[in-house]
Symmetry: C2
Subunit: 144 residues, 2 copies
């Protein structure tokens, strides 16, 4: 298996509401058959009906709302950017589930959830290199 | 907000088991403080204790196992590659939740779940361009 991800699909209860949320944050995508595709670097973030996504995966969808076991993160370039982005998300209707603060590891981050409860950590972690195009490179931790 | 993802973190119940699963599929990463980082193109796939991830997100973790509302996908270059990858995943301990088949849209795909139930769709969709480095470009659907 190659070491890469092609799509991250968020199951949502209302595609229009979810699209409006991400557009309020500045994302721009294309909608095809009630599916929204956002180009995000070398992969796509996709919004699709949660029921359809579960069915497509061959999985029963019994879980109530709540933490789904996966978190997305966007690393930014300054503590101020963390604050600005969390404030913008809140204005767009997100819930701030962790106010921005310096965490135990020593970097500044906060977390919001989108209208379906999908978690986004916004972090300024100088230990992880961000290229001009936003791509991230894991540092050499000297471990294996 | 820039239109990109820096990290996709999978909450797992046993980091060592989960790491062994992804390594059996050929992934190679670095472990730091019970956290495994895999470079995956311009972002990182991260394995971290589900309880720690929930706490870090400020979210209660009440959900039982089951579909968490997010699916990852890896697009490959042929139908045969879909079959090979699903077979390799099964040998590594994955559950095949959707056997490979041509779906309603007309492309060939199947789905496995990792030891914590995280879903991976493996797809051969010629409509989505894959660069040599594996990065994916959404086609121009002519929609907005």
């Amino acid at each position: 298996m190659e070491q890469r991800i092609s799509l991250v699909t968020l199951g949502v209860s209302d595609v229009a509401r979810s699209r409006a949320f991400y557009e309020a944050l500045g994302w721009r995508g294309q909608e095809v058959e009630e599916t929204v595709f956002f180009q995000a670097g070398g992969l796509a973030l996709v919004l699709w009906g949660r029921d359809k996504l579960a069915r497509d995966c061959g999985l029963p969808d019994e879980a109530a709302a709540g933490f789904g076991g996966i978190a997305l993160a966007q690393n930014v370039r300054s503590d101020a950017e963390v604050d600005e982005l969390l404030a913008a998300a809140q204005r767009a209707g997100a819930t701030i589930t962790k106010a921005a603060a310096t965490n135990a590891i020593g970097f500044y981050s906060g977390v919001f959830t989108d209208p379906d409860g999908h978690a986004w950590e916004i972090a300024h972690n100088p230990g992880f290199t961000l290229a001009a195009d936003g791509s991230l490179t894991i540092p050499d931790f000297g471990t294996a």
